[in-house]
């Protein structure tokens, strides 16, 4: 059974600081997805990582994928309050690859 684990589950950080969210998964996958969810809202796609070594950047967020280590990271550079949200990673299931298994989410709170 595929397990997707994120850590930390909760992160409180000050504006201007850097931090990394980790996403580990238990079975082979060649792709991984990152989503953002604002309080009371739905999920918004952030990054689609489609191969080993893939790196994507958008503003202060950078995501990378290491399929051999079964690890993805979401790095936050010089955090700002607007980045406060819950971030989810997701991996395709082996059975029925169209469906995804999501991590529990990392709730990020950026303090001014």
């Amino acid at each position: 059974e595929l397990k997707v684990e994120q850590n930390p589950l909760f992160l409180s950080m000050q504006e201007g600081k850097n931090y990394t969210i980790y996403c580990n998964y238990s079975t082979t996958s060649d792709r991984l997805y990152w989503y953002r969810q604002d309080p009371g809202k739905s999920l918004e796609s952030l990054f689609v990582l489609l191969s080993n070594g893939a790196v994507k950047q958008e503003g202060r967020l950078m995501a990378s994928l290491d399929t051999k280590a079964r690890l993805s990271t979401l790095h936050i550079t010089a955090a700002v309050h607007d980045l406060s949200a819950t971030y989810f990673c997701a991996v395709p299931r082996w059975t029925g690859r169209r469906a995804l298994t999501f991590g529990s989410g990392t709730r990020l709170q950026v303090q001014p």
Binding site: R31, K41, F88, G96, R98, A99, S104
Partner: protein
């Protein structure tokens, strides 16, 4: 832009009622999904469909059924609502494996069963 819409943002039902949650996507996506989201449990897959009239169970299908009569519409049915089905329900759609399989989510329906 891909648009996924859900029939209600908020819904209050009584125990034992039959509940229909509707989801429509406008981008000709072949795959559609229903998840529920609960605090501390993340998103859990209830059912998904990869074609009209085709469906597969997810992790927590008990107490739910689905219907996909048209490509753009995927319905989630609670046959006899119970209080433990109080949750946020999220619908999503995706084009297919060949295109990266990115899922696009609707705004969600917050269902309360009394």
């Amino acid at each position: 832009d891909v648009k996924v819409t859900q029939s209600s943002r908020y819904l209050v039902k009584r125990t034992g009622e039959k509940v229909f949650l509707e989801c429509v996507q406008d981008m000709d996506h072949e795959n559609m999904f229903w998840y529920r989201q609960d605090p501390g449990l993340g998103l859990r897959l209830i059912y998904f469909s990869y074609d009209v009239k085709m469906k597969e169970k997810g992790d927590i299908p008990e107490g739910y059924s689905v219907s996909r009569e048209k490509k753009e519409r995927f319905s989630l049915i609670l046959e006899s609502a119970s209080t433990n089905q109080t949750s946020m329900y999220l619908c999503a759609s995706s084009l297919g494996l060949e295109i990266g399989n990115e899922q696009f989510f609707g705004p969600g329906t917050r269902l309360t069963v009394l």
